[in-house]
């Protein structure tokens, strides 16, 4: 075969069935094997950082929650933490627990969504439907407790908006009783089903050294055996009081990332339970003090990894600069390593394995 000019280019995206959000891959392929990946993004740039600098601090809490849908809560969470840091505001203990509760509920739903999409990309429609059905229970929890399915609107500067009644705590615990065995079943399927394992095991390898070099975060890093979790490294909100393990897996492949996500769901379920039992009584909000000239940052562990917020204030209620770094920005770079000499069939699968959030990254 003439290898001189046997490659051709395939456009993948910006609109593609397997991609939940627009991003454009230009793949140079030789037969079915990828030789080069060229990534172009910017289709959902909305100028959010510029918008944030024209709105006041309170309005921005609403704005940043709309950066992305699946980790919307993490954005408002981290933003509020940054504003609290810049003003030296300390939130009441009840608010700390309620914030962690909302965050973990979102994390369960987000991880289930990602695993469902993986099944969809493999073409396993029944498994996709089943996973989404389990996720739907978490959506019901969100809707019942917070009134919304995606943007919870729970975090506000100084605390939380929605105070949970004892009945709601009981309801959440009751739903977890249903969710936990269902996820247990899913974990079994994703770990043992020959079709899923055959398609994902050993796929999209990201060796530990590369993972460290590229600074990947979240389940991608933990799937490469790196013990990194902001909740443990610099505990915030209620995490110092909650007991949980950081899940890692040494597989370094798409399969191990899925395992990490599914295992993390159990840690999250355990944390939701702890929050439901341990949340102290008391106020849920603290008042915002005078804004001074200052700068601060905050970071949290979103479902996809570390979210970092930087804020600088000039004494007015409009921030002089608001800047954030999202986990997908770090994880994108790893795609180049993961897609080295992979097959066309696996591009979507590998992309999904880093759980990309394009609108976060481009904002």
């Amino acid at each position: 075969m003439n290898t001189g000019n046997s490659t051709f280019t395939i456009p993948l995206g910006p609109v593609h069935v397997a991609l939940e959000e627009p991003v454009y891959f230009r793949l140079t392929v030789e037969g079915e094997t990828i030789r080069d990946v060229n990534l172009t993004s910017g289709h959902v740039h909305r100028g959010m950082e510029a918008m944030a600098m024209q709105r006041n601090l309170l309005q921005n809490a609403t704005l940043v929650e709309r950066v992305c849908s699946l980790c919307s809560n993490s954005h408002s969470f981290t933003y509020c933490m940054a504003v609290e840091n810049v003003t030296g505001l300390v939130i009441p203990p009840r608010a700390r627990f309620l914030r962690s509760l909302a965050e973990e509920i979102k994390r369960v739903a987000s991880h289930l969504f990602n695993t469902a999409i993986q099944a969809h990309i493999i073409g396993f429609k029944s498994l996709f439907m089943h996973t989404m059905e389990v996720r739907e229970m978490m959506q019901d929890v969100k809707e019942t407790v917070y009134g919304n399915r995606m943007n919870l609107g729970q975090n506000c500067i100084g605390g939380v908006k929605c105070d949970l009644t004892p009945e709601l705590f009981t309801y959440i615990l009751g739903m977890l009783e249903k969710v936990e065995p269902a996820v247990e079943e899913l974990r079994e399927v994703f770990a043992t089903n020959s079709m899923v394992v055959g398609r994902t095991k050993g796929l999209g390898l990201l060796p530990k050294e590369d993972a460290l070099r590229l600074g990947v975060v979240g389940p991608v890093a933990r799937g490469s055996g790196i013990n990194v979790d902001v909740r443990k490294a610099s505990p915030y909100a209620a995490y110092p009081d909650l007991k949980f393990n950081v899940i890692t897996n040494d597989g370094c492949c798409a399969y191990s990332r899925t395992r990490v996500r599914l295992d993390e769901i159990f840690e999250s379920i355990s944390m939701i339970r702890q929050c439901c039992r341990m949340t102290p009584d008391g106020p849920t909000k603290a008042y915002l003090p005078q804004i001074t000239v200052n700068e601060a940052c905050a970071r949290t562990e979103a479902p996809r990894g570390e979210v970092f917020y930087f804020i600088r204030t000039d004494g007015t209620d409009v921030p002089q600069r608001l800047k954030w770094r999202v986990p997908s920005y770090m994880n994108w770079e790893a795609l180049g390593v993961m897609m080295r000499d992979c097959k066309v069939a696996d591009v979507a699968l590998i992309t999904n394995s880093i759980d990309p959030c394009v609108s976060c990254t481009e904002r």
Binding site: F8, T9, I10, P11, H16, V17, A18, V29, G31, E32, A119, H120, I121, I122, G123, F124, K125, S126, L127, M129, H130, E133, M195, V196, G198, R199, K343, V344, A345, D346, V347, A348
Partner: protein, 323 residues
């Protein structure tokens, strides 16, 4: 003259043409409905394939500027014609003997890959890179599933040939005689030496129909329908019609090869019995498989086809040879 007219009638009304299309669409509708029920969805109404085709037929035909116009237009017609002719060759035991009483296995073996070739032709003519990938995948898949099919057909032909020749070596390729022989000597699907071949045929079905786990050439989440990507309107409807005809052909062929028994002397009962058998075959080999699996990668599928069904069919072939 009457023969020609009769032939045209068989290809256009019964059992090819209208009848095969109605049955094929019915099977497809039921398949979608059953799959939905298995996934706890409601699913589309049974007439959905008709509605889809009807809607597509009213739409405009779009041809990409860079496409090879003639081949692009011809491909769906080519596939449709192949299947319409092939449908007329399928005997329905106790009802219909196959076109001109021929129903030759070799003719069917040559006609069966035509829809896949049409997809390949259309895909490469569309000038889309996804079409090109779909082309190479379809080609590999064809090589993979046609090999066991040939061996299955050979083992059936040899078994019946031996039976007809009174134990001497022989091969019988007339589907009509194969059906007649089975009606006297029992269905081949129940013959111990043919059970591996029957299982191989069940494995062949999802491959040739391009349903999961073998929907690789048209993988939606990988190459967005591949060769069919650029097709729309009446041309796409023609591909769907071809696929419905093919459903009828492969299921009908399976029934004729392995379970052609009749239960009555009255033809409408036999026709219903045939449809029922086709349905069971479809549920077992397409619907259930489809809802219990994901999609193979092309290399995995190829390896699977040239090992499992080939081994099974070879098993039957050897058993027929030695017994």
């Amino acid at each position: 003259m009457t023969d020609t007219l009769l032939g045209i009638l068989h290809m256009s009304i019964f059992p090819g043409g209208v009848f095969a299309l109605a049955l094929g669409f019915f099977f497809k509708g039921l398949d979608r409905r059953l799959e939905a029920r298995l996934q706890r969805r409601v699913g589309p109404p049974l007439i959905q394939p008709w509605l889809d085709a009807a809607k597509l037929l009213t739409k405009e035909t779009m041809i990409p500027k860079t496409a090879c116009r003639q081949a692009f237009l011809l491909a769906p017609v080519f596939g449709f014609t192949g299947m319409a002719v092939c449908a007329a060759f399928i005997p329905i035991a106790g009802v219909y003997n196959g076109l001109f009483n021929m129903g030759d296995l070799l003719v069917i073996f040559y006609l069966l890959p035509i829809p896949a070739m049409a997809i390949m032709l259309g895909g490469s003519a569309s000038s889309s890179p996804f079409g090109a990938i779909g082309f190479s995948r379809e080609m590999l898949m064809m090589l993979a599933y046609e090999t066991p099919l040939l061996m299955i057909l050979l083992s059936v032909a040899m078994l019946v040939g031996k039976g007809l020749a009174g134990g001497e070596w022989g091969a019988e390729f007339s589907l009509l005689k194969i059906v007649a022989w089975q009606q006297e000597n029992g269905s081949l699907g129940l013959n111990p030496s043919m059970i591996p071949a029957f299982i191989a045929y069940l494995i062949f079905l999802p491959g040739t129909m391009g349903v999961p786990p073998f929907d690789i050439p048209e993988a939606e989440t990988e190459i967005i329908e591949g060769p069919l990507l650029e097709y729309g309107g009446p041309l796409l409807a023609l591909f769907q019609i071809t696929s419905a005809l093919k459903t009828f052909v492969v299921l009908g062929l399976g029934v004729a090869l392995f379970f052609p028994g009749v239960i009555s002397a009255w033809w409408p009962i036999n026709l219903l019995w045939f449809i029922l058998k086709c349905l069971v075959l479809m549920v077992v080999s397409l619907t259930l498989v489809k809802s219990a699996t994901g999609r193979f990668r092309i290399d995995q599928a190829f390896r699977f086809y040239i090992t499992v069904p080939v081994a099974l069919a070879l098993c039957s072939l050897i058993l027929v040879w030695v017994m």
